[in-house]
């Protein structure tokens, strides 16, 4: 067993509280806590749990697994003198950083309070003149085709490269999360659900473990800057390939899987020695401009027998121009990851200060590609903190062909958002491959939960369509008249391409 390091600083803003009348001293909570927050100590003639008050991150694992429902988590009061500039998070960050001298890492998506637009956009609904459609009674279709589409028949025939489109049953894919950043059990569950529901799952950049070969036909495999696990057969398995340029949670920086997390299975799949750090450089070292990207896109197409190629970028200021270049370079899909996007490990200072909201980037990219007459040449996949079917449908109405969900999928499997994905000690067995802890995630249970989430959201997606009198998602897509903004400025409205409510 590895030594468990106690996390000082702001990780102890919470504490477990024990109801000793209910507790029978079984000690399960101490076993479940991977952060060494709970100890069992003698108390008279019995044993009772006690909080160490050092490392609780509010993951709720002990609470959820207590057989006697004797635990709840509470926020510890932090009585710092109120200051509008020096907020408690700023003070805690410095305390923590000055203890380590390092870059503060975190996981999950940005927690900053910059405005999000999903909550400021609302849908229209049918009244009187066009009847709403009841999805329980009438046909309601969410089939989505991804890839390069023809503008018209003439150009289509001339082109000669009839590339097959990818058919999704609903406009949702599972966001890239590598084997290494998440457990193999979870990847399996994602892959099974994708295969069963007619969606896609992304491998992330950790290669493809052989247990996942049966589901590779529903996968988009990644070629990222680390080029981990890329073999000739890698290019014969997937439905499509993705070149990862950037990630919403850490635009412009690379990735780092610490050596402690490079265990035998991961070592084999990534093709690196056990215990060695897996470094993904910030840029792809063979892509220094758009023409290099074009070379890589076509190299992948050649190697894979002309499967669709997707390029993933973080949402940044110049996203529309970058997207235009990517499409003209030959990409069939473009994946835009906004600043709320999650991560298994990212410097918190980068996560909370770099990149722009998905909403704005998506709206601007969609409009730009239309203005240039190349919207049909690539599908847009939007990502970055989609929390609900409403967020998804707002993105579709702004112009996304599909959205990718990562954090929501993890939450479906037990994640409570404690933001310690990078620790390798995820108490829910989600973002860890520690042989002992990762067993906590039962792949069948995760499969069922993910399937339920997709099922539930699919129902809600159909409701949004039906209440707008639309029976096919194609007429929802890019249909910004369905949306209205509330309480946002003219400028924001014009970028989003929506009117204000009341107009």
């Amino acid at each position: 067993m590895k030594q468990r390091i106690e996390q000082p600083g702001h990780q102890s803003l919470f504490q477990p509280v024990f109801d000793l009348e209910r507790c029978d001293g079984c000690g399960e909570c101490a076993l479940q806590c991977t952060f060494n927050e709970i100890r069992i100590e003698p108390h008279g003639d019995r044993k009772i749990p006690a909080a160490n008050r050092k490392s609780c991150g509010a993951c709720h694992r002990c609470e959820a697994t207590c057989p006697r429902q004797a635990i709840y988590i509470e926020e510890k009061p932090l009585a710092l003198r109120r200051h509008e500039v020096w907020k408690s998070a700023d003070i805690m960050r410095i305390h923590r950083q000055s203890a380590s001298g390092a870059v503060n890492l975190t996981g999950f998506g940005s927690e900053s309070d910059l405005p999000g637009y999903w909550d400021r956009l609302i849908f229209n609904a049918c009244q009187v003149t066009n009847p709403a459609i009841d999805p329980q009674r009438e046909p309601m279709e969410t089939v989505t085709l991804l890839g390069r589409k023809a503008a018209a028949r003439t150009g289509y025939e001339k082109r000669g490269n009839r590339q097959e489109l990818i058919k999704l049953n609903l406009p949702v894919v599972f966001a890239p999360m590598s084997y290494g950043s998440i457990s193999l059990n979870l990847q399996k569950a994602l892959a099974r659900v994708a295969a069963e529901k007619g969606l896609l799952w992304y491998s992330g950049e950790g290669g493809l473990h052989e247990d996942l070969f049966p589901y590779a036909g529903h996968s988009i495999l990644q070629v990222a800057s680390g080029r981990f696990g890329i073999t000739p057969q890698y290019f014969h398995k997937a439905r499509a390939y993705q070149i990862k340029i950037g990630q919403g949670a850490k635009p412009g920086i690379g990735g780092h899987l610490p050596g402690e997390k490079v265990l035998p299975g991961i070592s084999e799949t990534r093709m690196i020695p056990v215990g060695s750090d897996a470094i993904s450089p910030a840029p792809q070292h063979d892509i220094y401009s758009i023409e290099d990207l074009r070379l890589l896109i076509y190299a992948i197409k050649e190697a894979s027998g002309y499967k669709p190629v997707c390029v993933k970028i973080a949402a940044v200021h110049n996203a529309p121009a970058i997207a235009s270049g990517i499409v003209r370079a030959g990409a069939d899909m473009i994946y835009i990851d906004g600043y709320r996007g999650g991560s298994g490990a990212t410097p918190s200072i980068v996560r909370d200060n770099v990149g722009i909201p998905t909403e704005l980037a998506l709206a601007a990219v969609d409009q730009r590609l239309r203005d240039e007459g190349i919207r049909n040449e690539a599908s847009i996949i939007a990502a970055g903190g989609f929390r609900s079917s409403a967020d998804i449908m707002k993105a579709i109405a702004l112009g996304a062909d599909s959205v990718a969900i990562g954090s929501a999928a993890l939450i479906a499997c037990g994640c409570h958002g404690c933001q310690r994905c990078h620790s390798g000690k995820c108490p829910w067995g989600i973002t860890t491959n520690d042989p002992e802890i990762s067993q906590r995630l039962d792949p069948d249970w995760a499969y069922e939960r993910l399937g339920n989430l997709i099922e539930g959201w699919h129902h809600e997606i159909k409701e949004f369509m039906g209440l707008n009198g639309i029976y096919d998602i194609g007429s929802f897509r890019g249909n910004r008249l369905i949306l209205r903004g509330v309480g946002i400025s003219e400028k924001e409205l014009s970028i989003l391409g929506v009117k204000h409510a009341g107009e």
Partner: protein, 358 residues
């Protein structure tokens, strides 16, 4: 709710608007007096090789500017005021008619305006967009659109449609709900040889419009129906789809229907249309009647939330929202055709393809 009527002579026998007026007037309750209109094909045989620009201007200044605009860009062979009987409607815009050909030869035009048709469309869009208060009602050859705010009888009398003789007639009675009732927003909507009348509401308008804008169309008339006319023009004239294919693209079969098709070629063709024209697909309740170069066709949405009926009698095909209206146009009708949801009825001129096809 709106009313639609159509009268189509497969042998191009011309007649005045009397019968179509009876057909649309019967459905008076389907409108509210805030819009009506007619499209008549074959009415200018003496100028049949020239584009007939029907221009609506809100005042004399707009009319003058529109006239200047047209004379700078076109060779005008004849122009006149469109005769109106203004005792019927007191406040009305001004209507002017120009018979034109493009004023500059193809080799001097921008690539997207190279054909005469494209040139005329492009300049009409430009006029609608840039000249305040002036709009193109129709710009096809040998046809005209007459429309405005009033009941079908008002508009018929206002434009003196007894005096015109055409072989294809469309009529519309409007009950505006989404957008204000104004002269430009009345139906039919025309672009070159295609004209449409529409009953319903296009829930997909937001994306249809953005799709059309990418092809240079500019929607200026504040109504979803306008987009349907431009879509027909784009799909049929510019993209070369057959009417059947265009109808499939606009009201495609459900995916579950496509999944059941066993013939791989048919299936591939349908998937191609769905993938390529996803943004052109019309959603929401609608019944559309369209006149095109080779005939007339009707189309309803996939759930048929708006009515459409038709009948064939002695080389004529009649279309209407209500069956009674068909009898009003032709007493001798034997069989009524009620199309299934999403199914087009296409009537063609005799020399082209024979009788109407279901």
């Amino acid at each position: 709710m709106c009313g639609i009527a159509g009268l189509f002579s497969a042998r191009k026998i011309r007649e005045n608007g009397e019968r179509i007026k009876k057909g649309i007037h019967l459905m008076n309750d389907r409108g509210n007096g805030l819009g009506a209109g007619y499209a008549a094909y074959g009415i200018y045989p003496e100028f049949k090789d020239f584009y007939a620009l029907h221009i609506m201007a809100e005042d004399s200044q707009a009319r003058q500017e529109a006239g200047r605009f047209i004379k700078q860009r076109f060779e005008v062979v004849h122009d006149c005021e469109i005769p109106v009987w203004n005792k019927v409607i007191r406040d009305h815009p001004l209507f002017h008619l120009y018979f034109v050909l493009p004023g500059i030869p193809p080799e001097q035009r921008f690539p997207e305006e190279e054909t005469d048709h494209d040139y005329v469309v492009s300049k009409s869009m430009e006029l609608n967009k840039t000249i305040t208060g002036a709009y193109t009602c129709s710009n096809g050859k040998n046809l005209g659109v007459f429309k405005g705010v009033g009941t079908p009888l008002d508009i018929y009398d206002f434009f003196r449609l007894d005096d015109y003789a055409g072989y294809s007639w469309l009529a519309h009675n409007r009950f505006p709900t989404n957008t204000p009732g104004w002269w430009g927003g009345a139906h039919p909507f025309n672009i070159l040889q295609s004209s449409i009348v529409h009953n319903g509401e296009i829930s997909s308008y937001g994306i249809n419009r953005r799709y059309l804008e990418a092809f240079g169309y500019s929607c200026q008339l504040h109504t979803d129906s306008e987009a349907v006319a431009y879509l027909v023009d784009l799909l049929v004239r510019r993209h070369g789809l057959s009417i059947e294919e265009a109808a499939t693209a606009l009201a495609p079969p459900y995916w579950k229907t496509i999944d059941r098709i066993t013939d791989p070629e048919e299936k591939e063709a349908l998937i191609f249309l769905r993938a390529t024209y996803e943004q052109a697909m019309l959603n929401g309740p609608f019944a559309v009647l369209a006149a095109f170069e080779g005939g007339m066709f009707s189309l309803t949405d996939n759930t048929k939330l708006r009515p459409m009926t038709a009948a064939i009698h002695n080389d004529y095909t009649y279309f209407a929202s209500e069956i009674a209206s068909l009898y009003e146009m032709e007493e001798g009708i034997q069989d009524i055709i009620t199309p299934r949801a999403g199914q087009p009825i296409i009537a063609r001129f005799v020399k082209e393809a024979g009788k109407a096809r279901l």
